[in-house]
């Protein structure tokens, strides 16, 4: 393998950076109920204008950040967050892969162990606290965290074999997990969400992972076929 091939092209870099940011963006909104502080931060730095180009879903999320009645919109989004993912009522969009893919529709089924294994292969594990029950490994926030940590590493990785392995890990998470349940999860969010943020975000997360699947495929192909390097296209 020659030196040239080990270097990451600027467009690859740009794509990886973009993916990282988008996963961070999604994960943040799925991770905790939105507050005025998060709202402002995202609005200020998140280039909300640009979301409008991502179909209607992006437009919805954009509109949320330009709501007329800010407080009411944030309140609605917070209610959605609890109603969809936390409770106390029966969850409208349970954020765990096992619930969507197991026969029992309960937590801690085979996907938990599959993703745990995948995390382990990349030296990662769910943060544990003594005398506390661990959160299930296949929570959407962990699966997205896995993506963004591997992307982050890919950016800094100069060894093309390692970079490829990192991309393979991302591909496995997408194909073996996210793509297998997020479409249904996303439908639940869209059907049961009431705020623009979550109706939009529900669609956006689904659109993005299928888009990202293609991106990862391309990125992997470009590792194998230098003539198809992104920068040369």
């Amino acid at each position: 393998m020659n030196i040239e091939n080990n270097q990451i092209s600027s467009e690859e870099h740009q794509l990886l950076e973009g993916r990282l940011k988008f996963y961070q963006f999604l994960q943040l909104l799925l991770r905790m109920p939105i507050t005025i502080k998060i709202f402002n931060e995202i609005k200020e730095k998140g280039y909300i204008e640009g979301l409008r180009e991502f179909d209607q879903s992006g437009q919805m999320v954009h509109d949320f950040f330009y709501s007329e009645n800010l407080e009411e919109s944030i309140q609605m989004a917070r209610q959605d967050f609890f109603g969809l993912f936390v409770g106390p009522e029966a969850l409208l969009a349970p954020p765990w892969e096992s619930v969507y893919r197991s026969k029992e529709k309960a937590l801690f089924d085979f996907p938990t162990f599959e993703v745990r294994d995948l995390y382990s292969q990349y030296g990662l594990e769910v943060k544990k606290k003594e005398h506390h029950h661990d959160e299930a490994d296949d929570h959407i926030v962990y699966e997205l965290e896995f993506m963004l940590q591997l992307i982050e590493r890919s950016i800094g990785e100069h060894d093309s074999d390692k970079r490829k392995s990192l991309l393979k890990g991302q591909q496995r998470m997408l194909k073996e997990h996210l793509l297998k349940w997020v479409p249904r999860f996303s439908t639940d969010i869209q059907n049961h969400g009431t705020s623009k943020l979550f109706i939009g975000l529900g669609a956006l997360v689904n659109d993005f992972i299928s888009f990202d699947d293609q991106l990862v495929e391309d990125l992997l192909r470009s590792q194998d076929q230098p003539e198809n390097r992104l920068s040369e296209c």
């Binding site: 640009g50 619930v99 293609q214 992104l230």
Partner: protein, 799 residues
């Protein structure tokens, strides 16, 4: 090249061009910057080591939900996760049967790992009952409860504090309700309760005959019977300890089994030789007519009644009672002119006279015979009569105190005794209300006295000192779902001027939990230590072992009550320095003082079960009283089996509380004029897929037992109702809309809704799930002040 392909693929959604545009405009590291403190995935402590081949750990446990089965569960744990459950696999013998799980036990994994579990403490933010909550910390929750409880106690006194009857954590040594009473006792006292929602009428009525509720024999004796009558008893679904097993064994031994029930229950379908359908609330008409046949055919055990019983005939009556009040006089119609013949009864209970004669003769001539009463028929308006009637039939046929007979009545006996964590003494003495009357005690407690069932009022005090103002509803769904008349109850709970504090703890957002001011996430039995026992007659206890850590921010009731005790300054008194595990060990040592065979903690941990073999341990209720009456009297005022109770006579309410068991035409029974408006009787039953109301949200169990109402085909045809239709079931108290199943497995004129479904009123208050208590009444039974939830009149219409 491929760039174009992607752009085409995502034409309408994501394009790479717009994606890159967005990305470059976003300031790095942006969105995460300063907002997310820590990442949730961390570097693995040990670098990827290959998974060991067999790391599975197996811990035995049992549920501490008030389940009739209390089966033995083995949790298979891999890497901190319960991956599957198995159950008892020891040799299955007659003396030591396996404690296998039924579908409820097989569904425990989905109970623990259900995504809908309550995860964090919550505080109500909307109107009460509206269902709007906000997450708070445990400290905030404890602070709020302590402050409100202190304020309410200062304003209304300790008798305003109440812990509601609940069974979500019971049949164990550290029940949630007992623990909150322990804490309330340490901080001034509380209003207690007596009775239960399961057995009020039988627990109160049985002692009027026998002086005790311990009327059960060990179940192996059923195989010595010649005939078993299961009267409103459905152990195939409820399990009732090992009753289903031993009835099956009796059947295999050739014993004839008769089931009397308005429904052809799973027990009737699976185990009975004969099913006798009966009109609900008319059991005593059948009993009276059976007694008539037994008396007039001279089939009663004369020497037995002469020797052991009071009140059979005029020659054996207590002093001070006028002529004509004995059982024989009543049955032959000496006073009222109505002989209680099978023809008389047939008109009321719809059992053909010939069937009544045959049943009476079979029961009286096939000695020993066992008449086992379920607890369903005693949950009716005059359920006490049903209980007493059964005991009298057993007595006059001489089936008491003999192996293979059965004394009837409540039927308790326990070979294994556990020691509960003490509740401590209530500074208010034994001030209690019947548990069914708590809604009355909220609205008009200060008007409630002895007549309303209050016990333990101090000298000179006629009424309760306060209405209930602070309510603890821990691990229970009787705050609305399992209590009668949901709409009326909801109205009482919604009124924030009545109850000023409602604290609820539970595993899920139940209908009761919706009415909480403070809603606390409870852990499950898999996450804490306890010891479970079963419904009597019982022969086992199981160590309820902690298998996993508490999920999310859930805690056991004992844990958060300890926090509350600390806040109230009584932590040491409350815990006595013990954790739940310490209490389990303490309980074991206490039990060992009385029963040296009770296993040590280490032995218990290893074996999981303490099960007593019935070999050489057969119990026959009242054997001593019958074999050696000189030295063993019945614990009644007369020392005899009281067919006639002078205590009941002295209550001077012969129409509703007769001194001998009688058929009392029931309000909302088939003879109530209200049948013109609401012509159908409605009963419930304990459904195999739920333990009371627990597991109603289990999706697997919903497949095994969908929520449908049973209706006889004849009743449906009149109403043009088809199988599977959604129908309206209604009376003056409310309305349910649910699907109907047409069947000949329920007597015409009666519809049946499996009890325990979670009340789900729509915006008009119409229950959309099928909670029978939408239609039941808060009017209590006459003697016990118990819940009459199988006594209802309704109409059904097609939607």
């Amino acid at each position: 090249m491929f760039k174009n392909v992607i752009d085409q693929l995502n034409e309408k959604k994501f394009s790479r061009r717009s994606f890159i545009k967005w990305s470059s405009a976003v300031t790095a590291p942006v969105v995460i910057g300063g907002l997310v403190k820590e990442s949730s995935l961390v570097e693995k402590v040990k670098a990827a080591e290959p998974a060991k081949a067999s790391t599975e750990q197996i811990l035995s446990t049992c549920s501490t939900i008030n389940c009739g089965g209390r089966c033995f569960i083995r949790a298979h744990i891999n890497d901190g996760v319960i991956t599957r459950l198995s159950t008892d696999t020891k040799e299955d013998t007659f003396e030591m049967p396996q404690l296998r799980a039924c579908i409820r036990g097989r569904g425990y994994r989905q109970f623990v790992y259900n995504p809908d579990r309550l995860k964090y403490p919550m505080k109500r933010v909307g109107k009460r009952g509206e269902g709007k909550f906000e997450r708070i910390s445990w400290d905030e929750a404890i602070e709020y409860i302590a402050k409100e409880l202190t304020r309410i106690t200062q304003k209304y006194g300790p008798a305003s504090r109440y812990s509601n009857y609940a069974t979500g954590h019971s049949g164990s040594i550290i029940g949630a309700g007992n623990m909150v009473q322990r804490l309330l006792a340490l901080t001034g006292g509380y209003l207690g309760y007596h009775n239960s929602y399961s057995s009020a009428q039988t627990s109160v009525a049985t002692p009027y005959t026998y002086g005790t509720t311990q009327t059960g024999s060990t179940l192996n004796t059923l195989s010595d019977s010649k005939l078993i009558i299961l009267w409103g008893h459905n152990p195939v679904e409820t399990r009732w300890g090992l009753t289903d097993y031993y009835v099956r064994k009796a059947k295999e031994a050739g014993v004839k089994i008769v089931v009397i029930d308005p429904r052809q229950s799973d027990t009737a379908a699976g185990l009975a030789d004969e099913w006798i359908p009966i009109v609900p609330t008319t059991d005593n008409a059948l009993m009276d007519a059976m007694t008539y046949v037994i008396i007039t055919d001279h089939l009663y055990d004369k020497s037995f009644v002469d020797k052991y019983c009071l009140g059979f005939d005029e020659e054996h009556m207590p002093e001070g009672v006028p002529e004509g009040e004995s059982l024989v006089s009543y049955i032959l119609g000496k006073k009222d002119g109505v002989a209680k013949t099978p023809e008389w009864a047939e008109k009321i209970c719809k059992v053909p006279a010939a069937t009544i004669r045959k049943l009476a003769r079979e029961y009286a001539t096939n000695k020993p015979s066992a008449l086992l009463q379920g607890w369903g028929p005693q949950r009716q308006a005059f359920g006490e009569q049903f209980v007493r009637g059964g005991t009298v039939l057993a007595a006059i046929t001489g089936n008491v105190g003999i192996k293979g007979g059965w004394a009837s009545g409540s039927g308790y006996t326990n070979l294994v005794k556990t020691t509960a964590v003490p509740k401590g003494d209530n500074p208010l003495g034994n001030l209690t209300i019947p548990c069914f009357l708590w809604t009355d005690a909220i609205v008009k407690g200060k008007e409630m006295g002895v007549k309303e069932g209050v016990k333990g009022l101090p000298e000179g005090q006629e009424k309760l000192p306060s209405n209930i103002k602070a309510m603890f509803n821990l691990a229970g769904n009787a705050l609305i779902n399992q209590h009668s008349d949901s709409n009326k109850t909801a109205e009482i709970l919604r009124d924030e001027s009545l109850l000023e504090l409602i604290v609820v703890s539970d595993v899920f957002m139940t209908p009761s939990a919706k009415f909480a001011d403070i809603l606390l996430p409870s852990n499950t039995f898999m996450e804490r230590w306890d010891i479970g026992t079963t419904w009597a007659p019982s022969q086992h206890a199981i160590l309820s072992q902690k298998c996993i850590e508490s999920m999310y921010e859930s805690k056991s009731d004992y844990e958060w009550l300890t926090m509350l005790a600390k806040k109230l300054g009584v932590e040491n008194e409350f815990t006595e320095g013990r954790t739940q595990l310490d209490w389990v060990k303490w309980s074991i040592e206490e039990s060992r003082k009385k029963d040296p065979n009770f296993p040590t903690f280490e032995e218990f941990k290893k074996m999981g079960i303490y099960q007593v073999s019935l070999e050489n341990n057969t119990v026959v209720a009242f054997e001593k009283e019958i074999n050696d009456p000189a030295n063993h009297k019945f614990a009644t005022p007369s020392g005899k089996i009281e067919i006639f109770s002078k205590d009941l006579w002295d209550m001077n309410n012969p129409d509703e509380i007769p001194a001998i068991p009688k058929y009392v035409p029931s309000w909302e029974g088939p003879q109530d004029p209200l049948t013109k408006k609401y012509p159908l009787q409605l009963i419930g039953w304990h459904y195999k897929r739920r333990c009371h109301s627990t597991f109603d949200n289990n999706k697997w169990l919903e497949e095994a037992g969908p929520q449908v109402m049973w209706m006889n085909i004849h009743d449906a045809q009149e109403r043009k109702i088809k199988d599977g239709d959604k129908v309206r079931i209604f009376n003056d108290r409310g309305e349910i809309q649910m699907p109907v199943k047409l069947t000949n497995r329920v007597i015409p004129g009666t519809v049946a809704i499996p009890q325990g479904a979670w009340w789900a009123p729509d915006s008009k208050g119409i229950d959309q799930r099928g909670n029978i208590n939408t239609l039941t009444t808060q009017r209590p039974s006459a003697l016990a002040k118990g819940n009459p939830q199988h006594t209802n009149l309704v109409e059904v219409k097609r939607i």
